[in-house]
């Protein structure tokens, strides 16, 4: 413990070193370059965006559940978009589009990675801050501007973008195609351009920090799995977002300068457009080359957070640490060669389709490795049912049920039937949407003491968990059956088609469950914002965890540790090690202090701790 028991006389010398200028309100809370503050900024912006996305989903669920009825209060909220209390069909399309965009990019990419990568990377690898705090700040402000523009687009006269979150041309390329294709689409592109820039700046910083700024003794194979997940997520982002950018640049030229990359032989109102020679499928290739890694960008941080929380709260070492890393790497690699499974029905060569089907189904292997490792970690553990742990186990449940339907959809032959039906909606909302959201909740409950120095209320946490968990299954499970019956997604009303009529009752059930689930989120919001000011004060290491972030003082200081950064001697999962008097041994404890619990493999597999131990002696 020599590194932790530093004399605090160094604090002043140290803070002088870091803070040459006095901290004002603006430099501390607004244009902050401190990774902990930036993490909180990302989280709160993400939460606000999540509320907007959730409200939109409730609004279109009302339309789907009761397509024939009129709700006067809707007219009061939406004005001309809900004349006589009935939602306008084109605004319905807009809401679906913006709900998808906000949830996928703004909440589960920036809100999740932005919050936890920023908070945990420097704290868990033992660094004073990010590689470039300035770029980190820029990353947040680009994200913030993108969020403002996206939200603003909801309020313009012609309505926001409405061609779906995948913005396929020609709906996105021709301003005259539908109301939302005009200014709404322009704002969408502007917002997403800023968003991509923000993601790249963030991701580059995360990678550089993980590779270059680990503290002494923190080998790559001693990093917590959270860091591995954030690191690989950032790699995926850096490799895939530029390709989306390339696709979007071509789209912008098509929209505004009259080129024909994606447009060919189109007639509007009986008149032929001059565009000739383009291919709309080309856009789908470029989009899904990002789009598929993107879903792993969403889920991998959640998986990393879950690994950490499950090991800590099962009081057991994570089962198969190296297998967990290898499966993350496997998922990351495979995610780049499966994009074609979104395009099975675009007239793709069946042979090519079978190649994409093969690579897609292989992803089941690393995913199953992770799932079984979670279950094996829980097996006979001394499980602490904290709210974070509940949400982590909820993630495992959702990841399994959603993953199983992925095997159906990855099959090129079955996909002909299931493509663009509610089966797909059910699949990705469970496996990626809700799971990642559960990972995010787990992370918030677990690291709240680290972020705000206070605890969230556990009772409200359990209440929030059970309502959300049941609501998620009630909302998305019935959708599988609707989809198997062939009901297409994105339709405004089911009542116009004979065979869909019978699903109306199910849709009402789903809508009621969705509304209850949404109301449950207000419990979380109340708990979150109340605890910032009135929560119980947190102790330094409330969950008795091994990782480095819990060796920092509760009060935030710039530079994270007063004095020297602690050195690391062991992996992060020494929980309930036989022979030790406590059920956890922090990474900062040298082997020389734990003679009673050392086992040969501590030294046989990793050789560095032996050297480190000699030095500390």
């Amino acid at each position: 413990m020599s590194t932790q028991a530093l004399d605090h006389t160094d604090v002043h010398a140290h803070s002088d070193h870091h803070e040459h200028h006095p901290e004002t309100f603006w430099s501390k809370y607004v244009f902050s370059m401190d990774h902990k503050m930036i993490a909180k900024q990302f989280l709160i912006t993400g939460i606000i965006m999540a509320i907007i996305g959730m409200v939109l989903s409730v609004l279109f669920r009302i339309q789907l559940g009761w397509p024939e009825e009129s709700f006067p209060f809707l007219e009061r909220i939406l004005g001309k978009w809900a004349k006589d209390g009935r939602i306008d069909p084109s605004f319905y399309m807009s809401m679906v589009t913006i709900h998808g965009t906000i949830m996928v990019f703004f909440v589960l990419t920036a809100g999740l990675s932005g919050t936890f990568s920023n908070l945990l990377i420097p704290l868990q690898v033992g660094a004073r801050d990010m590689a470039s705090p300035f770029i980190n700040m820029l990353s947040y402000w680009f994200f913030f501007t993108a969020s403002v523009i996206m939200t603003y687009s909801l309020m313009i006269e012609t309505g926001p973008a409405s061609g779906g979150w995948t913005i396929y041309p020609p709906l996105s390329a021709l301003p005259k195609a539908m109301p939302g294709s005009g200014l709404g689409m322009t704002l969408w592109l502007l917002s997403m351009g800023l968003f991509v820039a923000s993601s790249l700046m963030g991701g580059i910083n995360y990678i550089s920090t993980v590779l270059n700024m680990r503290t002494k003794g923190m080998a790559m194979t001693k990093m917590p799995l959270t860091i591995w997940a954030f690191f690989l997520t950032a790699v995926l982002g850096v490799l895939s977002f530029p390709v989306l950018l390339a696709g979007v640049i071509l789209l912008i030229f098509d929209r505004s300068f009259g080129t024909s990359f994606y447009l060919s032989d189109i007639y509007i109102g009986g008149e032929a457009l001059p565009n000739h020679g383009g291919s709309p499928v080309l856009f789908q290739h470029l989009f899904w080359f990002l789009g598929h890694p993107e879903v792993y960008i969403i889920i991998m941080p959640a998986l990393g957070i879950t690994s950490e929380i499950i090991a800590t709260n099962a009081r057991k070492p994570i089962f198969g640490y190296r297998a967990m890393i290898m499966s993350l790497i496997g998922i990351a690699f495979l995610s780049f060669i499966v994009w074609g499974h979104h395009m099975f029905v675009t007239g793709m060569n069946p042979f090519l389709g079978s190649v994409f089907m093969f690579t897609t189904l292989i992803i089941a292997v690393p995913s199953a490795v992770k799932t079984f490792n979670y279950l094996a970690t829980l097996w006979k553990g001394n499980i602490q049912f904290t709210p974070a742990m509940m949400f982590s186990m909820g993630l495992v449940s959702l990841f399994i049920s959603g993953g199983l339907t992925g095997i159906f959809l990855g099959n090129a032959a079955l996909d002909i039937n299931l493509h663009d039906t509610y089966f797909v909606v059910a699949h990705f909302h469970i496996v990626m949407g809700s799971s990642a959201m559960f990972g995010m909740f787990a992370g918030v409950y677990h690291w709240y003491p680290k972020m705000f120095g206070r605890m969230m209320d556990a009772r409200l946490g359990y209440f929030h968990f059970w309502l959300t968990f049941i609501a998620v299954y009630c909302v998305f499970f019935p959708m599988h059956f609707i989809g198997l019956d062939g009901v297409p997604r994105r339709y405004y009303a089911f009542t116009s088609f004979e065979f869909m009529n019978e699903w109306l009752v199910v849709n009402q059930f789903i809508s009621i469950a969705a509304i209850i689930g949404s109301l449950a989120q207000f419990i979380f919001l109340y708990n979150f914002f109340r605890s910032i000011f009135k929560g119980e004060k947190a102790t330094q290491n409330p969950w008795k965890s091994n990782t480095l972030e819990w060796t920092t003082p509760v009060e935030h200081i710039h530079g994270n540790w007063p004095g020297e950064i602690p050195s690391v001697y062991r992996w992060p999962y020494d929980y309930s090690k036989p022979g030790h008097d406590e059920d956890f041994i922090p990474q900062t404890t040298p082997y020389s202090e734990t003679i009673s619990s050392n086992i040969p493999t501590d030294f046989g597999i990793h050789e560095e701790p032996v050297k480190a131990e000699e030095k500390s002696n």
Partner: protein, 189 residues
Amino acid sequence: MNTMTVEQDKFNPRPVKFVLWLFILSSIMMFAGLTSAYIVRQAEGNWKIFDLPSIFYITTVLILLSSATMHYSVLQAKKNNIAKQQIGLWLSFLLGAGFLAGQYMGWQELIANKVYFVGNPSESFVYVISGLHGAHIVAGLLLMVSALIGVYRNISQTKNIFRMELTSIFWHFIDILWIYLFVFLLINR
């Protein structure tokens, strides 16, 4: 222990240099996306064939020369030979600006040959690819300006070399990138 702390916290150029490499990686991915789109689109037929502007051969020579002068400048900076470093930087800057002007003349040559930005995708692609590469050149020139300002303001030798290294890594990258793009466009017509 204070010395330890200072050692841990002193200016470390490695992470920042790494950030540049990662930026280069993402840039490579963007151009890989564009050139893949080019090939996929070409395979679908209806593809107009035309000659690339002859001035592109000259600009290619210019940017190769500028890489050489950039390298010379870094070597001189490391030898603490500031005057020669300045000459090298100025030469690279002028060659780079010349490259940019040449690319613009190339576009005019294309227009003279009735190859327009708004036309067959094969034509639009040449403008988009060379235009985005041009944007990278502008960024490279700005890095050179920052290095030049550093030299004239007499910043410390460590920082001077750091700026020079960043500039030269990026400049060599966009040089190689142009050669890739030019050869790619020549082969896949």
